[in-house]
């Protein structure tokens, strides 16, 4: 068992079983929680998500962790957001008139002209070692909203959907639009490359 503690934030959106199963394979200590003291002691925080932006933010607020989580991520806590979990890291979304996002990444999530569902090849834009092994590989996407990259923050993208991004990385924050936990073998290699081969938790900055 590795010493690193990964906390998957429980904010009532979507199933976490696949993600837990995959991370357990890498022998991390996995906890699911929405408690401040647990989040504080985490070496890495993961925000999963299938759901609606408004619902997700409301749940974070209901659990009284919205501002705490924001502060924690801004202080440098290694953080990974998956799908909706990535979208709530941004400032706002067209999916929500009532709620703003965590705002640890700048920009607004925009409604796609066509919902993007299925298996798509991603292409690296920058030569980042984190995503080297995933270039030109197929991953499972399932989203109706996305982030249109205008400030060159995009690491990887789908050709037909460019400049909407597939992966964004900014210091300690990594956002993934697709579902590595549902992308079978390629998803496992992707997360392994980030968490083990390149040790995202230690080399995050």
């Amino acid at each position: 068992m590795r010493n690193n503690k990964i906390v998957i934030v429980d904010y009532g959106v979507g199933n976490m079983a696949s993600l837990i199963n995959l991370l357990s394979k890498f022998e991390f200590e996995i906890t699911i929680s929405n408690k401040k003291n647990v989040l504080k002691n985490a070496d890495c925080i993961i925000l999963p998500g299938v759901g609606n932006f408004t619902e997700a933010i409301k749940n974070l607020k209901k659990n009284k962790i919205f501002l705490y989580l924001k502060k924690l991520i801004l202080s440098g806590k290694p953080t990974i957001g998956i799908c909706l979990g990535m979208q709530i890291l941004f400032q706002s979304s067209e999916e929500s008139e009532d709620e703003i996002g965590l705002g640890v990444l700048s920009g607004k999530i925009i409604k796609l002209k066509k919902k993007n569902i299925g298996w798509f090849k991603i292409f690296s834009k920058k030569k980042n070692q984190y995503f080297k092994k995933s270039n030109n590989k197929l991953f499972y996407f399932n989203h109706s909203y996305g982030f249109k990259d205008v400030k060159n923050s995009c690491e990887s993208y789908i050709k037909d959907l460019y400049p909407y991004l597939a992966i964004v990385k900014n210091k300690n924050v990594l956002g993934i639009q697709f579902h590595p936990e549902k992308s079978q073998y390629e998803g496992e290699i992707f997360l392994k490359n980030i968490l083990l081969d390149n040790n995202f938790i230690k080399n995050v900055h």
Partner: protein
């Protein structure tokens, strides 16, 4: 080029996976979990579990079944359909382990159900089931509970063509379970009716010639195979060998 998906469909009745014949007769096959494990091991593009008792008995979704499947450590997207009556059911279906859901006959009681459900799950998770029957140039949705055909009029069509639904699960009711039964013309008809809405097509699709024919329709996003996948070990890999690599994802069999 966008890849067409291939889905493995498991029909569940009384917690047993069954082979369906036009949704009228059923042959028991075994534990649903066993078939889910196989499809996941074969690296199929997605798995669809349809619990046909849930709607009939108005008992709500089969949460226990979804939870049992989630425990199997599968790494393939899971779609669940059966008994989803309201947003609370939908939310619980996703929380229990499904990635997306299929709204069935409840839609015929509340046309705003996709809107209400998408408000909690996101529209990308919402699929609407369209068990279709064409009779004398008119289209009907088959209501499994009432065993009644509901004519698709312009009002229903407006609710189908909504932004709160991501894809339609089209089943060819009359040809389900029949070898080579699926009639591709129904896709062409639906393309016209639903303004090119993305479709998952199901019912009697049994060989690669037929899959290739169906894959030519631009509005088909997923081709759903039921009974025919279950006859042999690694049947999906055998299917893939005869399908064009530019249209389908060639998944590696790694385990």
């Amino acid at each position: 080029m966008k890849k067409k998906r291939i889905a493995g469909v498991i029909i569940v009745k009384n917690n047993i996976a069954v082979q369906s014949f036009s949704f009228k007769k059923y042959l028991p096959l075994g534990k649903p979990e066993h078939f889910v494990e196989n499809l996941d091991r074969w690296n199929i593009d997605e798995i669809i579990v349809l619990d046909i008792d849930s709607s009939k008995l108005n008992a709500g979704p089969n949460f226990e079944l979804i939870k049992r499947i989630a425990k199997l450590k599968i790494r393939t997207p899971l779609i669940y359909g059966g008994g989803i009556r309201n947003p609370e059911d939908a939310k619980k279906v996703i929380k229990s382990g499904a990635d997306r859901l299929i709204i069935g006959s409840s839609f015929l009681q509340d046309f705003n159900l996709p809107l209400k459900i998408s408000n909690v799950t996101g529209a990308q998770a919402v699929i609407l089931s369209l068990p279709l029957i064409k009779f004398q140039k008119e289209f009907f949705i088959f209501n499994y509970i009432l065993k009644k055909n509901i004519k698709i009029n312009s009002e229903i069509l407006n609710y189908i063509n909504s932004e709160y639904i991501s894809e339609l699960f089209l089943s060819d009711v009359l040809n389900d379970g029949k070898f080579n039964g699926f009639k591709p013309n129904i896709i062409k008809d639906l393309k016209r009716l639903t303004k090119n809405f993305p479709l998952l097509v199901f019912g009697g699709i049994s060989d690669t010639t037929q899959i290739n024919k169906i894959a030519k329709f631009s509005n088909v996003s997923s081709i759903c195979l039921g009974n025919f996948l279950n006859y042999h070990e690694l049947n999906y890999q055998k299917y893939l060998k005869d399908l064009p690599k530019n249209k389908f994802r060639v998944s590696q069999f790694h385990k």
